[in-house]
């Protein structure tokens, strides 16, 4: 049961590692990657607010690294 849940993620992860080493993007080709909206989190401020709300309303709140956030007891 547990393994079945992890499987798709593990497969994706393995394919991700597979990509490693077989690409070559020269520094001068990284213009698009360097754009602010290509950042992993393109809107840090907004994400922190949304995440805070999800954390206080969802069971899977933990598991994010411990960064405070309060009791959320309401």
């Amino acid at each position: 049961m547990k393994m079945r849940h992890h499987l798709p993620v593990l497969l994706l992860c393995i394919s991700c590692f597979g990509i490693l080493g077989c690409t070559s993007v020269q520094p001068w080709e990284r213009g698009n990657l360097a754009k602010p909206h290509m950042a992993l989190d393109a809107s840090v401020l907004h994400s922190s607010l949304s995440q805070h709300n999800y954390n206080s309303r969802e069971g899977a709140a933990g598991g994010n690294s411990a960064e405070g956030g309060g009791c959320g007891c309401y």
Binding site: G31, L33, A34, M38, R57, G63
Partner: protein, 860 residues
């Protein structure tokens, strides 16, 4: 070419271009972003330039399905204020500081019960079911032969005719008075060319919960910076000190309950004291796939131990004794609540995959995230997230967002528990007859959520970015992946609206260095002390200034009447209108955060917008020698409120200017955006009463705010004087009252100590009238009665309108620092402490301790 060589060469080139003042701004932004590439694939939250940002968010939950009851309470709402600063301490050391403040109030579920229990319909007032307070104490229930709840012809009479089984469930809603949480955290990072480490920590404080946390982590880039790995460890220690609900003293517990050992009782209240620790670790891998795509994979593990219950949630048990058969064949039983009982340990695992793709033709970025969560409480959760970031012309960016979340229930979750035994008369249950763990918090149930939102941002050339966003969120059992979710009674929705401003100080500094030689903004004469507003206008059409103001004021001295100390006996007999005074404040504290946004449409006129965010707290003591209050109101923990205050709109014009002398006139309107209808939780049979006048967040009236300011300077000396006032434009607000008008006169002198530091001394006289009118609904001291005829508490001096305003003298001591050169040139930080020297209060009030003003501003 290795990036190590690429970076310094790029920076030198960039600087050279800037010095020539020929750099195209968009090229500059692109190049700066390119230089930050390593940061992009690591910790974007703390990467980037020197930046200051502010955000306000409003969370509003929708009404719950209550079937035949109607709750008079508004659902929970949360106001959030965030401030953030990222500063480069040196080329390689970065410092990030975050401040977050939440204030919430409103109704949330305290437990779940069958509809037939009528938990939301306890109080019957003149035959009207008011739903004023939840029923969680023990009450009789009738159950059919399958132990299903049944409905009766007269719900209040267990002997009435049984109509049939009714298995519908409903949340029992409970109202919470406003409460505030404050969190500060920081992170320091050190960057090498291909690696970085960081250390951080913080503190989150609320009335009943304190959390301390720390973290360390690092990142290593290799494979020509196409690949990056990261790792971090964090630790959190949380301390609960929960004052248990006064109206929920009727909780039952088992005879060896661990929870009971955590509860410390005193005369007035039960306090639950407990600790929890979390250890968390994460490993991450980011890989650039091609020049348009990157992927990030994260795994995380968290181990938590200690007190993980929610101290305010109750679990409803149906106690049915199979031998208690009624003549009609049904069973007599009892509903009673227990505090929830969760395991003392929790292991949580997460796997997170993110993919970012650039769409060439549209210059858009698509972010696709999938997260899997699993824990040993039985919860499996899937989160699927898609954002489309679409830059438009003129600096606009629009981002539609979509999110789907689904979770299974915790093993020990049930909305309602059945136990086949009679509820013992002494309320002490045998633990062996109960499950080892039980909870009915809907966050542990099976459900799915769907949310969608949109964010719109505008980037201005000078490094200022404004953003507004909206998100709608829907929680429903039916949305659970694969079905089998909780019933529709538990469904709810919420929306979040947010507005943010980001100021990139590096971008400002570069525009500043380009222009400062001909405008000289940062050093144009002396500034007034931090507590003074409207003293200057911007120099020429098109100029912009952003600033942040903070004000703290505290009253915690002796109780005064006029200008002398009041005796408790006098407060008791004379301090309140028409009846004795039962209490008087021990302290009242206010924090105010203000954004200062100025723009000059012409050379002689500056427009100013000032949104405010306020939070206040207070506590009271009983007045010695007072007659006994008809309903002694217990004050453990005090009261707090917070949220958006009133919003100021001002126009400041130049009346006169010659060398060394200026006179400005400011005309302003205060828009009543602050809430003046905040009420206390309906506990102790207080009735649904307004919280004290001084604890409301705004004036509730449109106010006219003129100010006339003279400033002068010669050599290292500066001076000024200001007359200002607040005239209420209505005699009462929507809650029935208006604060008194305010007049203030002040004069100051300042001296420039060196190139960056100045000091000031100021005298202030202010006068304010009493509160006009009175709350137009139930309030303490109104002589009214609670729903069951209990006379309302007399309240305290803070509840009488005559005890507001007065005549006050203060002396202000100020310092002001400005950054004369370098990257942060143009920034100014000033502080002023106002020391009260004489109070002559209206009626009876607590003496003032002083007030602090702090002000950061940046002109460009």
């Amino acid at each position: 070419m290795p990036c190590r060589h690429f970076m310094p060469v790029g920076k030198t080139l960039l600087k050279r271009q800037l010095n020539k003042r020929s750099a195209n701004l968009s090229l500059h932004a692109l190049m700066a972003a390119a230089l930050l590439l390593p940061g992009l694939i690591a910790l974007p939250a703390y990467a980037g330039d020197d930046e200051v940002s502010f955000q306000y968010g409003h969370y509003q939950e929708g009404k719950r399905q209550l079937f035949n009851a109607k709750s008079q309470f508004n659902p929970i709402e949360v106001d959030t204020l965030q401030g953030n600063a990222n500063i480069k301490l040196s080329e390689r050391i970065k410092f990030a500081f975050n401040y977050t403040q939440d204030t919430w109030s409103g109704a949330t579920p305290i437990t779940t019960a069958p509809v037939v229990r009528q938990g939301n319909r306890l109080r019957v007032d003149n035959d009207i079911h008011s739903g004023a307070s939840p029923l969680i104490g023990a009450s009789a229930g009738i159950f059919d032969k399958h132990f299903n709840p049944v409905s009766l012809s007269d719900p209040a009479n267990p002997d009435s005719t049984v109509i049939g089984s009714d298995t519908r469930l409903v949340h029992t809603l409970s109202y919470a008075s406003p409460e505030t949480r404050k969190q500060s955290d920081f992170k320091i990072s050190y960057d090498w060319d291909t690696a970085a480490v960081h250390i951080g920590g913080g503190l989150s404080i609320e009335n009943d919960y304190e959390s301390r946390f720390g973290n360390v982590g690092g990142r290593w880039d290799f494979n020509q910076k196409l690949t990056s790995v990261s790792a971090s460890v964090s630790y959190t220690n949380s301390h609960t000190q929960a004052l248990l609900d006064h109206d929920a003293q009727t909780y039952y517990s088992s005879n060896n309950s661990q929870l009971d050992k955590l509860i410390h009782s005193d005369v007035d209240a039960n306090v639950l004291i407990a600790n929890k620790t979390d250890w968390s670790t994460h490993l991450g891998l980011t890989q650039i796939i091609n020049k348009n795509a990157l992927v990030n994979f994260n795994v995380g593990y968290t181990y938590s131990s200690g007190f993980m219950e929610n101290p305010y949630k109750a679990v409803t048990f149906a106690f049915v004794d199979p031998s208690a058969v009624r003549p009609d064949g049904n069973y007599n039983g009892t509903y009673a609540v227990l505090r929830e009982q969760r395991p003392d340990e929790r292991n949580q695992w997460t796997e997170n995959l993110r993919y970012v793709q650039h769409i060439d033709g549209l210059d858009a970025a698509v972010h696709v995230d999938y997260r899997f969560f699993h824990d040993d409480w039985g919860i499996n959760a899937h989160t699927f997230d898609v954002d489309w970031v679409q830059p438009l012309s003129n600096g606009w960016t629009i981002t539609p967002k979509f999110r789907y979340y689904s979770q299974s229930a915790a093993d020990f979750y049930q909305p309602l528990f059945l136990t086949q035994q009679r509820l013992p008369d002494n309320g002490r249950l045998d633990a062996s007859t109960l499950p080892s763990n039980y909870a009915s918090d809907h966050r542990l149930s099976a459900y799915g959520t769907l949310s969608g939102g949109i964010t719109l941002s505008k980037q201005f050339a000078k490094g200022v970015n404004f953003e507004v966003g909206f998100e709608y969120y829907s929680h429903a059992g039916a949305l659970k992946l694969g079905g089998g979710g909780e019933g529709s009674y538990a469904d709810f929705n919420y929306y979040v609206a947010n507005a943010a401003m980001k100021v990139n100080l590096d971008a400002l500094a570069s525009t500043h260095s380009e222009h400062s030689h001909h405008t000289g903004h940062s050093t144009h004469g002396a500034h007034a002390p931090a507590g003074i507003m409207f003293d200057h206008i911007l120099h020429k059409a098109g100029d912009v200034m952003v600033g942040y103001r903070y004000m703290y004021a505290n009253q915690a001295g002796a109780s005064l009447h006029g200008d002398s100390v009041a005796r408790d006996l006098d407060i008791a007999s004379l301090g309140c209108k028409n009846h004795p005074c039962a209490s008087t404040p021990t302290y009242m504290t206010m924090h105010m955060h203000m954004l200062d946004l100025m723009v000059a449409p012409t050379d002689w006129l500056t427009l100013m917008l000032m949104p405010q965010f306020v939070d206040m707290s207070m506590n009271m003591r009983e007045v010695t020698g007072a007659d006994e209050d008809p309903n002694p109101h217990q004050h453990s923990g005090g009261h707090s409120t917070g949220g958006i205050g009133d919003t100021g709109l001002y126009a400041i014009g130049k009346l006169f200017a010659s060398k060394g002398h200026r006179i400005n006139l400011s005309l302003g309107i205060s828009v009543p955006t602050g809430d003046v209808g905040i009420k206390l939780r309906d506990a102790h049979k207080l009735g649904d009463v307004f919280i004290h006048y001084g604890m409301q967040l705004g004036s509730g009236t449109w106010d006219f705010k003129p100010a006339l300011t003279y400033t002068g300077e010669a050599d290292k000396w500066s001076w000024g004087a200001q007359l200002s006032g607040t005239k209420r434009l209505a005699s009462k607000n929507t809650s029935g009252f208006a604060f008194g008008d305010l007049f203030q006169a002040t004069a100051w002198g300042g001296y420039q100590l060196n190139s960056w530091l100045a000091a000031s001394l100021r005298g202030v006289y202010s006068v304010q009238g009493t509160v006009k009118g009175e709350f137009n609904g139930a309030h303490l001291g109104d002589g009214g009665e609670s729903f069951d005829g209990t006379p309302r508490s007399w309240g305290g001096t803070e509840d009488a309108t005559a005890n507001y305003g007065g005549r006050f003298w203060d002396v202000g001591f100020g310092v002001s620092a400005s950054v004369p050169s370098g990257d942060l040139q143009g920034n100014r930080l000033s502080f002023e402490w106002l020391q009260p020297v004489h109070d002559d209060v209206n009626g009876y009030q607590v003496e003032r301790d002083g007030a602090l003003s702090a002000n950061w501003s940046y002109m460009f």
